[in-house]
Structures are given as C-alpha cells and as structure tokens.
Amino acid sequence: MRDARSELTRPIGVRLWLSGGWLMLLACAAIFAPWIAPQDPLAQDLFLGRMPPFWENGSEAGFWLGTDSLGRDVLSRILYGARLAMIVALVAGTLTCLIGASLGLIAGFYRGWPDRIISRFVDIWMAFPPVLFAILLIAVLGTGLTSIIIAIVIIDWTRFARVIRAEALSQSAMDYVASAQVAGRARFGTMLTEILPNVLPTIVALLTLEMGIAVIVEAILSFVNLSISTDSPTWGGMIAEGRISVHQAWWVLVFPLITLFLTVLSFSQLGEGLKDRFDPVLR
Amino acid sequence: MSGYLNIRNLSVSLRGGGPILRSVTLDVAAGQVHGLVGESGAGKSMIGKAVLGTLPRALQITAGEIWLDGQDLLKLSPGQRRHRIGATTALIPQDPLTALNPSRRIGPQITRRLVDILGWTKAAAEARALELLAEVDIPDPRRVMRTYPHELSGGMRQRILIASAFAAEPKLIIADEPTTALDVTVQKQILRLIAEMQARHGTALLFVTHDLGVVSKVCDSLSVLYAGKIVENARMRRFFMHPIHPYSAALLAATPTYTNPQGSLMPVPESVIETVEQEVTAHDRRWGRR
C-alpha cells in the first residue's frame, strides 16, 4: 500500500494541464458559440471573399481569421464547428465505449462460445479498411449527425472489445477472482465487482482516445462531403474547401487544421496521462 | 608491481547512492589462478565487471586504479580501453544458457571476434575454432559450428564458451561463477576443463565464486570479499592454515571438505567484524604497498 499523501501531492503533469485546458476552451467555444462568434457562420458575402487574417494587408475588420471563398468568417465557423465536434466526440465516444467494452468484458470473462462469436466478429471487422467502411455506412445511412455517430460506433467498437477482452482474460486468471468465485459470488457479480474496476483505467484511457478518433472520423467524412448538410460549419468541411484553395487562401485550411490537430493531440495526451495516473500497476 | 592484473583501492558506488565496492585491492599474477570468494551480494561479480568495463549503468567507479599489464585502464579513453580488453582479456560467463546469441550459429560466435577485432583471416579463425572445440572435448566440432545454441545442452554450451574464451590466447580470463548454473555432475567436468585449459595455455585466471571448495581445488591464491570490502588476500596454503579475518574463518568452517563435513555457516557477530575492521584496513595497506 502506497502512502495516500504522495498520491495527492503528485504533480498532475504539464501535458494533462495543457490538453485538459485546450479541451475546456473548446467546450466553452462549443457552448457559447452563438454569443462569442463575431459573425454569422453561414452569412455569405461574395464581396468579402478570401479576406486574409487581421495581421495581413487587405484584411477586413471583424473577420479576425479571414474569410473563405464565399466570404464566410473562418473564426465563427471554427467556433460553430466545435459544437459538432464536441457532440460527436462525447456521444459517439461514449456509445462506442459502452458497447465495445461490454462485449470485450463478456468475451474475456465468460470465454467459451460468447468469446468465440465476439472474436470472430472482431476478426472480420479487422479485415475492413475502416475509412472505406465508414464512408460505405454513411452512404447507406444517409448524411446527418445520427448517421455519423452510428457509423463510428459500428466501426470502432472492436478497438475497445479487443483491448478489454485481453485485459479481462488476464485478470480472470488471477487468484483473487478465483477466490471470489469460491466465496460463492454470482458470475455476473464477480465480473462487475472484481474485473471491471481493474480494467476501468484502460477503459477511461481508450475512451478519451476514442473521442479524438471520433472527431477525426467526422472530419474525414466531412472532407469527402458525406457528413452533415453541406452548409453547416464543420472542421472537415472547412479543411476540404481549404485544401482546394490552399494556394490562394492558406488561412482557410490552416486555422481549422490547427484546431483539429490540437484537439486530437489533446484527447490522446489526456488519455495517456490519465492511464499513467490511474493504472494501479504503474502507480 | 608484480602480476598481470593489479586492482588498487577500487571503489564503486550506485550513482547518487551507497557504495558497492569499498577500496578493493587485489592482484592476479601472470599464469596464476586467483580465487575471488564471497557470498552472493558481496559485490564479487562487480569487480570482474569493473575490469571488463561492463558495469551496469546505475553504477560508477568513484576511485582507484585497474592496472592491466602495466597500464591503468581507467586512464584510457573508453574506445582504447574497450579495444585493449578485447585483445587481451576474455570472460567465461555464469549462465551458458543466456550467454550465447540465440539467433546466430555457434561458428561465427567464436570466429567473428578473431576476424573483426584481431584481424585474423576467416580461414585461420575457423581452423582455430575447430581446434579449440576439439580441445574442450566437443564431439564432431564441424557439425557443432553450424548449430544454433538452442540445439545444445547447458554443459556443451559452457564448453563452447570456454573454447571461445581461450580462442584468442588472452593473457587474462575472468570466470564469473562458471559452474553455478550447471548440474552438479557437469560442474566437476567443467571445473576440471577450466583448470586443464588454464594450465595448458598459461593464462592468468580470476575465478569468481561463492564456493570455497572450488577455490581450494583450482586456485593458487585468493581474496575474500565481504560486504564490498576485501577482508583477506592470501596464498592458498596460508589461508587454509591461518585465516586472519573472522569472516574467513567462518567461511572456512562452513566448507564441508575442510574442517567439518556437515559444514554450516557460523554467523559472525557484527561487533567482532567491527573490531577487526581496522586491523584489516592496515592489512590492505600492507598489500597495497607490497
């Protein structure tokens, strides 16, 4: 048993602060977008097309990060885009985690035929190129927020199932599980009280990682024009447009790209940091 | 200074931590076998590692000199030192099961260093390896050269490691508990083999072991290491007739072949050791000057 005090006084770590801070900032942007966005993200004005950001010559007051080819404000679109990104991250991440971790836990703990069936499905899923699978699903389900979330859950549950199954398998082999069994605890109860708490750190780390991946998948789908309706602002959509006009207006690509980059990096760093912090073995 | 290897006041400690070796002084004369005895944890393997330059990264030499053939190794650059060790010294390791590279055939493991470091031709190195393998009683050396380590028994592998150690005619061999990891039946054969090879090639040998019985069979002189400190340096005959340090006496009493056949290690009271400590330090100094 470690001294509880050292646990409390341990520094949380720079990367946890930085990544957590960025994500908080983004959450605020998502919630308060209508109040803090300087412009209407959908308002087009062809006379204001491709205005550079404020420090360059020829910039237009009020359009801090410039405008796209249709004269829409880049900053406002990024702020509104954060809404969709955050919703997808939270909802798709959580649902994927619930379904994937449950299946992994069942496969690893019960073994036998549930394991065989679940593992077979994981094998088949691993043989699909994930991006193509996602695009295919959206083509079937139609575009829209719900479709994106369903597609992410369908594609990525295996990530949780694989890792949690392996962890549950190794946990089940340990003596304390056997002793809980001998003590006459119900199988299902043992799984929830003995196995689940020990795989929880991994689940939490995977969940934050998955949130970052969900944001990326949404951006990729927007990029191939299969996300939400074309005029609602998404980071992926902005990147797709910026990619085309990158030689004429770099800012249309750069700012949403930086936002996306930092967001994905933050989610994964947060996951790694939490894992180090909560892993009973590493602690 | 006489002898091929002279270690003077060598101190090794954990980086930012306590001492492992405290002012160790010992000599290995050319062509002689010197035993280094101590219980596990006394730091005896670290002396060999300090000479060979393979101390773990957590340890560092804080003071002392290691003279090899009239040259202080610690004054050389790491590259020069490595080359000098490679050309004049060899190691017979403790565990033959882990000391051969599992992904390489036996032949190259013996010949490569002759070619790479000593500049032999490939044919000469191979002839030499075959000769040595025959000398350590390996049946069908030509076939064994083409096998992988996992195909051979522990005893065979230790023979190969001995052949490999003698291949370049080194002036000094450090044998680090070479029989500990082997079956009791094989231990005797290997011990006899090392003694024979040493006598035939006239190599100086530093024999590290925890077994005084083994030392009595093969060594000309010995050092006793206790808690990182040499408590006694002696010729064999003098040591067995009149051990100076109480730890040496306890060690002798625990050795079945000599004083009593049951042989159990009698604990040395801390107080006794402390009172003798100063006497031993003085003894060390005498040795250092000699």
Binding site: I216, I220, V224 | -
Partner: protein
C-alpha cells in the same frame, strides 16, 4: 503434423473471415436507398428501361439469390461489372491495385527506415535527453492520424516550400507508355530516372503521411525490445570482446529484438494500407482507395464489393506473410 494442422486451421479461419466480409458488404450495400440503375440512365428513361437493366444486373432477385450468383462468379474470378464505369470489376481493380501497393510498400519502407533509426539512436543514447526527445516525438507522431499529417505536409511542402507535387501520381507530360501499372518499379527497371524522380515527387507526401504513425510505433516497440535485450548476457559478452556499443546494438541485440516487434508491426501495416483510402483521396492519387470512394458516391455496388473484398484479402495475406517471417527469422521455430 502439428504444422500442417496449424496451416489448415489458419486457411479455414481466413476463408471464414473473407466470407464474413463478403456477406456484410453484400447486405449493407443492398440496404442503400436510391436506385443505382436509375442513376446510370439518362433522364427520361422509361420504367421498362430501368427494369431491363435491373434484370441485367440481377437486382430483381432476392438478396440471397444475388449473393449465391455473385459468389459463384467470384469463385471463377468474375466479380461482376461496374455500373458507373461499365467495365469488369476485376479488370478495373487490378489496374488500380499496383498504384496502391506501390504507395503502401514505399510508405512501409519509409516507416521502417525512420522508426528503425529512431529506435537504434534511442538505444545507443538511452537514459539521456536524446532518448527523451525521441519518446516525445514518437508519442506525438502516434497521436495524430495519417489524414492530418497529410494536410500538414501539404502546407509544408506544397505551399510553404513547394518542392513536391500535391496531387496525382505522375505528371501528364512524363506519362511514358508503361507496360505494367507498377510505374515506380518499371521506371526503375527501365532506368528512366527523370520519370522516377517525378513519381517520387508525387508519392513523397502521401507515403510520408502514411509512414509517420507506423514509424512512431516501430520506434517505440523496437527501442523497448532493444533495451531489454541490451541487459542480456550474450550482449555483455560481446561487449567484453572489444566491440563498440554501436556494433553490439546492431549486430547482437537487433536480430533478437526484431522478432517481438514484427507481429505488431504486421497488424499496424494493415492499418497503413487501410489509411491509403483517405490519403489517396487527399492527394488525388489514382489508387484503389480513391476509386472506392467514387464507387460509394456513385452507388456502384459491384465495384464497392470487389474493392472491399480485395482489401480484406490483402489484410489477411499481410498477416500470413508476417507469421511466416516470424517462423523464418526465429531459429528455434525453423528447426522445430
């Protein structure tokens, strides 16, 4: 006997996996709303025209019947006819496959080169600031997926310092009469270095984008494996023989440290190949992935099916090759 049994079991599971993939794709794409046939015909086509084409493509039958017809065709090497491009799927797919294979293999080579170097340098300078820097770099490279690296590269080498082409596979002016679709290997073979340079100029950014995450994984895994190996007795013994640390790492530790890394890298390589789908789109590279996205957008059912099955086949083959390499490189298994 045990080996034969293992091979048979392996082949059987591979077949089941491929069958599963086929069934899922087949079912999923037949739920697609919208009539693919209607999209093929010019406006004003009559109901009779649509019905006739539907019959031609077999869409009037039940899903189960369609599947058996399709499967019996596949067994004979017939993957059907593309609706949007009106050519045999097998022909279209085989024409595009070399481009994707070349891209994946070049990316793999880059990843092994960068990742391997980082692992070796990190091991040589272990427990120093250099190792810390490599760990940090690898950690970051790993957090960011290939899609974003591709965009970053476009900004760096396409806009800021435009040295590489940001789209396509080859400049039209240099499109010599290739006899195969392996442009890179053919240019090399025919010693057309101008063409080779142009091909590399096009391939550089997509390949590097795909390689970065894999390089990071190789760096981390191999370095860990090397560091563990460096503590082993035979490595220490090699050191006493007078070899430099560099030689000890590459010659004694590396061959034994590669094995544990290999299996994981195999799985990661299939992820890399999966990544070509979006990377090819991003760089307008004319490979399988780019064609697949077009096929989905055009609702070209036979083509989607063919491409997905091909990807699944490649993935299972990669895993098979990795397992075989594991046996070949491990003397213990080779002689068992």
């Amino acid at each position: 006997m045990a080996l034969l049994r293992a091979i048979l079991v392996r082949l059987l599971t591979t077949a089941i996996t491929l069958f599963g993939v086929a069934v899922i794709v087949f079912v999923v794409i037949r739920v697609v709303p919208g009539n693919p046939i209607a999209m093929m015909l010019p406006p004003g086509a009559t109901e009779a025209d649509i019905a006739r084409l539907q019959m031609q493509y077999g869409f009037d039958k039940s899903i189960f019947e369609q599947f058996t017809i399709w499967l019996s065709g596949v067994v004979q090497g017939d993957f059907g006819t593309s609706i949007s491009l009106r050519q045999p799927v097998s022909l279209l797919v085989l024409n595009r496959l070399p481009a994707t294979l070349e891209l994946s293999i070049v990316a793999l080579l880059i990843a092994v080169l960068i990742g391997g170097t980082m692992a070796l340098v990190g091991t040589r300078f272990r427990d120093t600031g250099a190792e810390g820097a490599i760990d940090m770099g690898a950690g970051m490279a790993l957090s960011i997926p290939d899609f974003l690296w591709g965009l970053v590269l476009i900004l760096l080498f396409g806009v800021l310092w435009p040295v590489f082409h940001i789209s396509g596979r080859i400049s039209p002016s240099l499109d010599i009469d290739f006899t195969t679709n392996f442009y890179l290997f053919e240019a090399l073979f025919r010693l057309r270095f101008d063409v080779l340079a142009d091909l590399i100029g096009h391939m550089f950014m997509p390949a590097v984008a795909l390689a970065i995450p894999l390089a990071a994984i190789i760096a981390q895994l191999l370095k860990q494996s090397l560091k563990e190996t460096m503590h082993l007795d035979y490595v220490t013994l090699a050191r006493t023989k007078g070899y430099a640390e560099r030689t000890v790492i590459t010659r004694e530790a590396l061959p034994n440290a590669i094995l544990p890394t290999l299996t994981l890298v195999g799985v990661q390589f299939t992820f890399l190949i999966g990544g070509t789908v979006i990377i090819e789109r991003l760089f307008s590279y004319e490979g399988l992935g780019n064609m697949a996205i077009d096929a989905v957008i055009n609702r070209d059912l036979p083509l989607i099916q063919g491409i997905v099955i091909l990807f699944a086949l490649i993935f299972t083959l990669v895993n098979l090759v990795v397992d075989m390499m594991y046996v070949v490189l491990n003397p213990r298994l080779r002689h068992a």
